[in-house]
Assembly symmetry: C2
Homo-oligomer: 355 residues x 2
């Protein structure tokens, strides 16, 4: 493999000093980019795009052509794992993901098994390899997976939900069944992330999108405990470099200390958490990633720059900050806002280190 020319992200994730604050954006390859929409139209559907290594590579690199981002993130979906378990994933226009065979009876839950990433998820690993070749050492590639609990949400509910009533009913009424699903998911996520690392992912992130819908105690028992197990099972070094791991629980700001003690290298923060307080709460135990409100990008470029400076100042200049949004970038985000943001983070974070 070509040596990595820009390792700013990897160093920041390991709390090592960097010349500036690295930046990447959750969902940076996405519908706010006209070129993404063109490729998606060619693919025919979101799933066809995600399942084609060539097209996934194409869209993964698109934002890097426009903006000086410090990382690429694999273009894929968190639900490829339950899809590979045979639950039958589809995306309906405007309504989001849907599983044809959600986990509703005990027999189906007992029969659930972790997929072999090299077989059922081969297309993802092919994409990782192809993206690494295309990146050619430009910036590191981040691999990712949904968290065991977040995957279970969709697997039991069968789709998104405002209150996750079905999966939470299982949690309170039949915790044994939910635990069985989470154990399988933990195995599946660990294997999947390790396969991505082996294929070339240089950092990995666990998206716990729905852990924040749990009560504080249920979060610890049904989401964080399993993420801790995933992190413990991850390949720590590949190609002679440490592979940093990031945990992001949307709505998890109250549980920051617990997440920071999970064994991960970095914690993702959504926009509701005060950066300065977060830094004080976890000290230098972990790096922090975040946390501009994605909606702040709907303001004029000058306001975007101002909000970006505020986030940078909140985190301060101690090593261990990766700039990101507090959630995925929204579909209608103006491209010029993203350009202003990326430019401001680079120039202002350099200046902060000099003064």
């Amino acid at each position: 493999m070509t040596p990595l020319r820009n390792d700013t992200l990897l160093r920041a994730l390991l709390c090592e000093p960097t010349d500036y604050t690295p930046i990447w954006l959750m969902r940076q390859a996405g519908r706010y980019l006209p070129e993404y929409n063109a490729t998606r139209a060619r693919a025919g559907s979101f799933l066809a795009l995600a399942k084609s290594p060539a097209l996934a590579t194409e869209v993964t690199l698109q934002p890097l052509e426009r903006f000086a981002l410090d990382a690429a993130i694999l273009f894929s979906d968190i639900l490829t794992v339950p899809d590979a378990m045979g639950l039958g994933l589809s995306f309906t226009a405007g309504e989001g993901p849907r599983f044809e065979r959600p986990l509703r009876d005990e027999a189906a839950i007992r029969a659930l098994a972790a997929p072999d990433p090299g077989a059922e998820l081969r297309y993802v690993l092919d994409a990782v390899r192809e993206i690494r070749r295309a990146l050619d050492g430009r910036v590191p590639l981040i691999g990712f997976s949904g968290s065991p609990y977040t995957l279970a949400c969709y697997m039991v509910e069968g789709s998104g939900s405002a209150d996750w009533r079905t999966v939470k009913t299982m949690l309170y009424a039949r915790p044994d069944l939910l635990r069985r699903i989470l154990e399988v998911n933990t195995r599946a996520v660990t294997d999947y992330l390790n396969a991505q690392i082996e294929a070339g992912a240089q950092a990995v992130m666990i998206f716990d999108t729905w852990g924040g819908s749990l009560g504080h105690r249920a979060y610890e028992q049904f989401s964080l405990a399993y993420m801790r197990e995933v992190v413990a099972g991850l390949t720590k070094v590949n190609e002679g470099r440490r592979i940093p791991s990031i945990i992001f629980t949307k709505g998890g700001g109250q549980w920051l200390e617990a997440i920071a003690s999970s064994g991960c290298d970095a914690v993702g923060l959504d926009w509701t958490t005060d950066a300065g307080q977060a830094r004080r709460r976890v000290g230098d135990r972990v790096a922090l990633q975040g946390n501009l409100d994605p909606l702040a990008l709907f303001a004029p470029p000058d306001s975007v720059r101002e909000e970006a400076r505020r986030v940078l100042e909140g985190f301060g200049t101690a090593p261990g900050h990766v700039f990101n949004l507090g959630h995925g970038i929204a579909q209608q985000t103006p491209v010029e806002s993203v350009a202003a943001l990326v430019d401001e983070v680079l120039t202002y974070s350099k200046r902060m280190r000099q003064s």
Copy 2:
């Protein structure tokens, strides 16, 4: 007025000692009750029900006939206020509230004015008076309003939203316009709550359902600052008794200290906040209200009782806890779960005080 026979709620809200932990449930008069559905069917629509003082009284009292609750809460909707401002409220089946004339242009925003509660919201005050007569001193009546920011969310967006893009775009791009709306709303909410107090409400609650979608700094500036102003303007004593005020920001657990310093008597907590930690964070500055996960009621009665005991133990026996759910009760909640909950809170909280 008949003297109040059960003032446990009012005393707990003021951090005075009580023999047991009082309980009421957000949305306790609602669709999980067959008798509510029957009354609503008779009314023809949700709005017709909310606008009829006689029917609103009927449904307000229904849960008290089934369960030993320590408060009644006015049956109404937070959106009656913008409706009275002329925005044209309607409810579409399955889709929630919608405004015919959302605030999208500067002229409409400049023309916005606080309604006169005695005129446009007369039906609410009539309901308060009729409920007080029907209660006849049994338990106190809680009045309520949406927070200035939460009302603005619906007024600008025109309906519910997953990310509140329109109102947050205004916040970041035209904060002056949003502030103008919030100033009018602050006047409107203060007048409305004071009119409810004058009509007989014995405690008031501000529902800040969407403040939790804001960044930490925006929350302070665009939601909490205005709620502080509302609280400062509230009538403090009526019928010779202190009128406690409660602020509930869903998703506001990270900002608990700031909310507790707003001047309110009690802070509502959703189910993501650890009760013991919350108590330590605010000490005896305010009472706390909450915070069972509403979905915990979908478990069998024994598990419901166990979860209820856990919440009670989390808050402890120091004065100043009102038991509630962490959010409104869900439509399909089994009635027997509510019965088990209310019974357990009474008996177990008594026992805790004895040991």
